[in-house]
Subunit: 312 residues, 3 copies
């Protein structure tokens, strides 16, 4: 009456040919959040759709989006906030809700708590997310190119700047174009990367840029990630620096990050914020996680959250 | 850990280990509705996502939500209107769009028609739904605890009252906290239950409560359910009483309910409403259903609906 | 090409009984759009849910909708923009977001580009979509009856005109009722059809109608479709005519359409618009597609799009 869904094992029976398919996975979380004043409950469940196929010549294509990406699209030319890709020997082209080239290769610092970067510090809103200049929030009109050859990975991303439909949704500024390029080199347990982003806000007469240097290392059971970002003259951010460490002790992983941003604008000098947390792996896709975060803005008190997160 | 789709049959093949998975089921309905003035068409289709997994120590976890629960979430800490749970020997903890403890254990009266409680009487809007004081409508920030031992079942539910994000959606009143506890005891074909609900509306300076006594019995092919609810001084409802009967004759089930609410407020004395309906099981998950409902408010005429409902 | 979840092979394992089930399929596209001024990126991914079952007496029932049909329903009696059906020897009844009877049997002209009718000409907004009078846009309250016997197919569609909930969404005009009937006859590679539509706008005091004559033919690898529509006195459209041709040369299909509408209103005389495109089948569900469209409205420049579309 219910169900069906086929196992990948069963899929093997379907000839040897690559068949286009739709797969489901999901995540959920439940717990409590302290916003520096009250404890609140917070839970969420999502399903991810992963679509994949292969052309006769061996190009791979696909798409993915989550139930949380489903929106009342205003323009039929724009879909949900997911991504669509086509890949082959030439590399991979991804369109839709992409990240900047820098974020694509370097990611963010280690997150803390069961909410990850969905909870920010009380006054500044800081999280483990690195303050990339472009595409750090949702878009529907981006184009990303990525390519890996041996130890080298490169990425380039851009938006068309015409804000198709997303202007109405208030999520994109018309006549704003963004470009970014990044490269990373991995040798053994070490990866170093360099990225550059440009945000051309014609409407506001601003031409902003930011360069990021990032490094990741693995020492035994400890992962370390750090970055330094320096902005151009017209940026709000002068420079930013951050570091995170995650160490596994059996089923327990202790994590922490600290970031500091210097602003260009007079009056606001700089903000430092940090997070500390621990994850305990319950097995089977369940993780118990707790974290605390704070910033040094006047009058800011710590925020925290504790709960369970699940993968399906 | 990811993926899935997997048939239960195929699942047998996947070792003995419990794998986290996402399953699909669905429901749909189509028919016509008489709103006391016109007949209208009405149809609906939904898919439910059921996520489930097991930790290494044997705790079960999961989540479920329907496509109709998918919303444009305003606060990333709140997801859709589904629920997430974790259960073990200690009982079951559920978070998200929960019901009150009383509704969790007693449910509502027998519903009529293919629309169930989605159609109410013309003037009062009454349905088979029992007028619980708390959590009778959607929430995203509730916490429920349930536990069963032999013939006993207990439940406790609360909301944090801070209305995370749902204030914006107008679905939750800030500074309103709700609490409820309920217990049920089953002996043979009989179940009796008692529940108590508190709605603390700090904002409005109101402290409301309601106590429910419920009984369910099975006589051969007939199910009977009744309740009596008595409210506190600051409630809108003074007391309420209701009864439903559902009798199966082969593939046909005849159902009816009647409810009466006495109000505290002067002017409005009491309202009585009822519903009568019949279901015919077509097999394979399809049911033909018709129902009529009415209340005794001045000038109220009967409403009715007739259609088919499907389970997938 | 479609598929999955399930391999029919795996389904065989599930006894012989017809089981109600939920299947997933999907589509996606990515490319660039020229709106006569700028080139923009545009991508989209969707998943379709197909629900199906069979009653004990052999009636088939089901429903389907896409993730892009999921809306914040304002009235619980209305679901998403999908459809629900029940079929048997008597024919097939479909409710929900149906098309007009004419569109159900004749469809639209051959589409061009990877965006199909999601891109219209610059000034007039014309596409390969035939200008049917009724139900050409979304509805949630329609009823469709279809029946086929040998070479004959008939369809009848209507809406109840009360605009349940959809008034609030601005997608349906209250007190507007639509009716349509259509028939088609197929002999060998030829199909001819006749349809009639009525749009009764009580609110606006208008009683509109339109009659369509349609023909489809297959000559070797070439598909030709044409129609002529003539409107009533109170219509905005006096008459309309259109033709499309699609010819396959190996993996390449060249397509084109042209349409002309004469308006009743003085001042605007008539508009002619056309589209030209080519599809290249990459296999495995992927198609490379490009198209250009234009109309003869003063100052209108061509629009175009080029990209890849995928089926999963």
């Amino acid at each position: 009456m219910k169900k069906l869904l086929i196992a990948s094992t069963a899929l093997v029976m379907v000839a040897g040919a690559a068949a286009a398919e739709v797969k489901l996975s999901g995540d959920a979380r439940m717990g409590a959040v302290y916003d520096s004043e009250d404890w609140n409950f917070s839970s969420r469940a999502r399903v991810q759709f992963t679509l994949s196929g292969t052309t006769d010549s061996g190009l791979e294509f696909g798409a993915k989006f989550r139930t949380s990406d489903i929106r009342n699209a205003e323009d039929p030319r724009n879909g949900n906030r997911g991504t669509v890709f086509l890949s082959g020997a030439f590399g991979k082209i991804t369109m839709g809700d992409i990240a900047s080239a820098s974020e694509e290769l370097f990611g963010d610092l280690a997150d803390v708590g069961y909410l990850g970067d969905d909870q920010g510090t009380a006054k500044f809103g800081g999280t483990n997310a690195i303050p990339y200049l472009t595409l750090d929030n949702e878009t529907t009109s981006g184009l990303m190119y990525t390519y890996s050859a041996g130890a080298f990975s490169v990425a380039a991303a851009m938006t068309d700047g015409h804000g198709y439909g997303s202007v109405a949704a208030g999520t994109f500024e018309a006549d704003t174009q963004s470009y970014s390029v990044a490269a990373a080199y991995t040798f053994g347990n070490y990866t170093v990367g360099l990225g550059h982003e440009i945000l051309d806000r014609d409407g506001a007469g601003l031409d902003m840029s930011q360069t990021e240097l990032a490094g990741m290392a693995k020492f035994g059971n400890t992962d370390v990630k750090g970055y330094y970002a320096i902005g151009g003259d017209e940026n709000p951010v002068d420079d930013a620096i951050g570091l995170s460490v995650a160490s596994a002790f059996g089923a327990t992983t202790v994590k922490g990050y600290v970031q500091k941003v210097d602003f260009v604008a007079a009056g606001v000098d700089s903000v430092t914020w940090y997070g500390l947390g621990a994850d305990y792996d319950l097995g089977g896709g369940a993780i118990l996680a707790a974290g605390i975060q704070d910033d040094d803005v006047d009058g800011s008190d710590p925020v925290a959250n504790m709960g369970v997160k699940f993968k399906f």
